[in-house]
Symmetry: C2
Subunit: 466 residues, 2 copies
């Protein structure tokens, strides 16, 4: 069978992986990227320099055969290290099973690896500084502007993939062209984010504990930090634009910023003497969720990755979800190769419930990380879950584990199961139904019974609702 | 205090009521309407000729003092009259309390009344055939195109209200101008709708029972009919665009349409000998939900009614919700008159949870009307609820009653309470926990206990989630 000419817009994490996979399948893939080649020019500009990378992402790396090249880029983070106002820290593991942890990875290094792998295939090419300006998805013609030649040009393709991120041009064209009913949502949190840096110490070492995701939870705002291979940490401040005593709109001079950090995050001042400079040099960015449907137009074009489902970063699943898209799409190609419309329809039908779920879970986690990690009922719940996971590793998985470490369970099933478990445990704690003198096996049995009852009752009510 | 110059875009149901109320408060109100004056030209064109009108709408009419003029326009509908395939009918009342019913009312007649009342005030004017083309909400300048003079002109206002419906130009300007983070969603159901007509009989009488909302529930599709004062019924067909054996995309010739009605709605053929003509003459329209935030920009402009929250028609609350907007806005003006930003912020903060709730309830009801009214568990639930409402009129309100007949309970509280009750009753029925030999008082007690427990458990889990 003659393989199609694929036009792929966007050479970010998802686009580069997709190019590699379609290349491995024998398609002629032409990738067009708006930005310069990040392997030659530093374009990070203080926006999500590193990312959480976990089992769903790793599964995708295995699919394309580069797991061994990715692992050296990873820094394991075994849990959340919580920093209170007095500077005291407490480690809260992500799982009761020792082999389950997440990783910090550099966006730039991982993208570069994927690009290198894709370009090694003779049927894949990547062109940079080519901004997509318009997509005629009815006739599969795409217009670009080249920042180097300053000229417009058009490409005719057999099939178009929009892996062009949260601000997708393909998605915007679906919306504005009004050729079909396009369901679409963009929802912003009241909070934005700003990146700061903990530089390495003089010897190039880490200034604080390396193998953790550090959190300073303060209710209305939150600071987190993820390690980088060079000994630095990328720190992210999550803060309201205009609510509360401190917010992005009123932190307008160095004094105010210093006061804020001195008051709320005193132990970070020794780690970040540069905090005020970073604060005013780096941009403030919004936190948005995008959902839409349909993702494809008559088999001509498909939205994938953030272009189809941008999510907030609080579950550390944004990149993992986009990589999993490619794994799931690959299964659909396997089934219906040669018929893109069938491939794309099956992909959206099976995948969208999962990407909707991780979008909602990520918003839940915004509140959980900000408020609840420091809440006694939540801490009791986590303690119990850690005990259940370590004592019954094959019998119990927390919601966090289901989402993060169980790549063969879809996000939606993980959400339904995980929320029911959370509800069961929280109510048992609130009602003081957990007797810690009982053996843990008895407690697990009760949790499972309560969870099943909740699932069952929700099912009856939901069947009637949908 | 000097009263502001108000520019109000849209003289539909919501805009006309708002003009009347702001006029009564002494503002100088200039209303600009895109369409011709519906009191002079017939512009109905087969799109929602009549509407369900109930207690929340009536409350708004009382506020502006025209209840006595509205009631003569109403046709009471005491329940749903269900038509099965054999033509058998069964009445299912909306409430166990005799005085609780909804009404069918003509969109045109009610709008005309509101316009007449508004225009009687010397400080209110309405201009027609003026299409809003652009809104500079930063400088409060609005551009219009006059279909009569064919000229563009601009109006400077002190404050701008966008009551310009589901396709709001003000909302579009909020979205496209990118002056602030605008959360926005439009979601379409897979179904569209088309209006048909049951004409009066030769004597001008009603061809089927007058005082009901008729439903032909068929799972994948549904027909409903609401009476008009002239003896006709406006019938609406809800049908998928492209799924199932019959859909809008494949019903393309008269034969197919006749087959569909003969097969699925045989008793309607005698009532609508004109069905095929209507089907091909009238447009097919989509069913969409719109949510957005913020509704106001710095006190300069406000979205209201469908412009702020378009909903699907299945709870019969679209118009009622828009009218209630005006009642709630009026309370906010009462509190903060003179400070539009405070008025608008309070309005959105208090109102949006309720409009979000009715949007979700309306989608729930799509499934309920289509599928469940014919489902035995649902029918048992409705029977029990009717018995509870008629025997304990002050102690029990079904979800439907809370939403429709309890105008002093917000939609959101009605939703939370109503869904918990539904879940309690449905689970009790499914688990065969209801013993009909018991006296009804005992059953009510059990329902209330179950409901409270569900509310309580949800509360613990939700506190942890948000």
């Amino acid at each position: 069978m003659a393989k199609n000419n694929v036009l792929l817009i966007g050479a970010g994490l998802c686009g580069s992986l997709l190019a590699l996979r379609l290349g491995q399948r024998g398609y002629r893939v032409r990738v067009m990227e708006k930005r310069p080649d990040l392997r030659k020019v530093d374009i990070s500009a203080g926006r999500s320099i590193n990312l959480a990378f976990s089992d769903r992402g790793l599964k995708a790396m295995r699919m394309v055969g580069i797991e061994d090249k990715v692992l050296p880029l990873c820094i394991p983070m075994h849990g959340r290290m919580l920093h209170d106002k007095s500077g005291q820290t407490k480690m809260s593991n992500y799982s009761g099973r020792k082999h389950e942890y997440i990783n910090s990875i550099s966006r730039g290094q991982l993208t570069a690896l994927l690009m290198d792998e894709a370009e090694e295939l003779e049927n894949v090419s990547i062109e940079f500084n080519k901004k997509c300006t318009h997509i005629d998805f009815e006739h599969k013609k795409v217009s670009f502007f080249c920042y180097e030649s300053k000229r417009e040009f058009e490409i005719q393709a057999d099939v178009i993939f929009g892996a062009d991120g949260a601000g997708s041009v393909l998605r915007k064209n679906y919306y504005l062209a009004k050729k079909f009913l396009f369901s679409f949502s963009q929802n912003f949190l009241s909070h934005g984010y700003k990146e700061l840096t903990i530089h390495p110490d003089k010897g190039g070492g880490f200034k604080t504990f390396k193998n953790a995701l550090h959190i300073w939870p303060r209710g209305e705002y939150m600071l987190i930090a993820l390690p980088n291979l060079d000994g630095s940490f990328t720190v992210t401040l999550f803060l309201s634009y205009n609510e509360g005593e401190y917010n992005f709109n009123n932190l307008t001079d160095p004094e105010a910023v210093m006061d804020f950090f001195r008051e709320e995050f005193p132990d970070t001042l020794a780690l970040m003497p540069n905090v005020v400079d970073d604060f005013f040099e780096n941009p403030t960015a919004p936190l948005g969720t995008v959902k839409c449907s349909p993702w494809n137009f008559e088999g001509n074009s498909l939205l994938i990755g953030d272009a189809a489902h941008a999510i907030v970063p609080f579950y550390g699943q944004g990149m993992n979800a986009s990589f999993e898209d490619v794994v799931e799409l690959d299964k659909c190609i396997e089934k219906h190769e040669g018929d893109w419309e069938a491939v794309f329809n099956l992909f959206e039908q099976t995948r969208k419930p999962d990407t909707d779920a991780i979008a909602d879970l990520a918003i839940d986690n915004f509140y959980e990380m900000r408020d609840h990690v420091a809440n006694p009922i939540f801490q009791e719940k986590r303690k119990l879950e850690m005990a259940l996971e370590s004592q019954f590793p094959d019998e119990y998985n927390s919601k966090y584990s289901l989402v993060t470490f169980n790549e063969d369970i879809g996000y939606r099933d993980a959400m339904i199961m995980g929320r029911a478990q959370d509800k069961a445990i929280l109510n048992m704690i609130a009602d003081q139904e957990i007797n810690y003198d009982e053996n843990l096996k008895e407690i697990l049995k009760k949790v499972n019974e309560e969870t099943l009852e909740i699932l069952d009752e929700d099912k009856v009510a939901k069947t009637m609702r949908h």
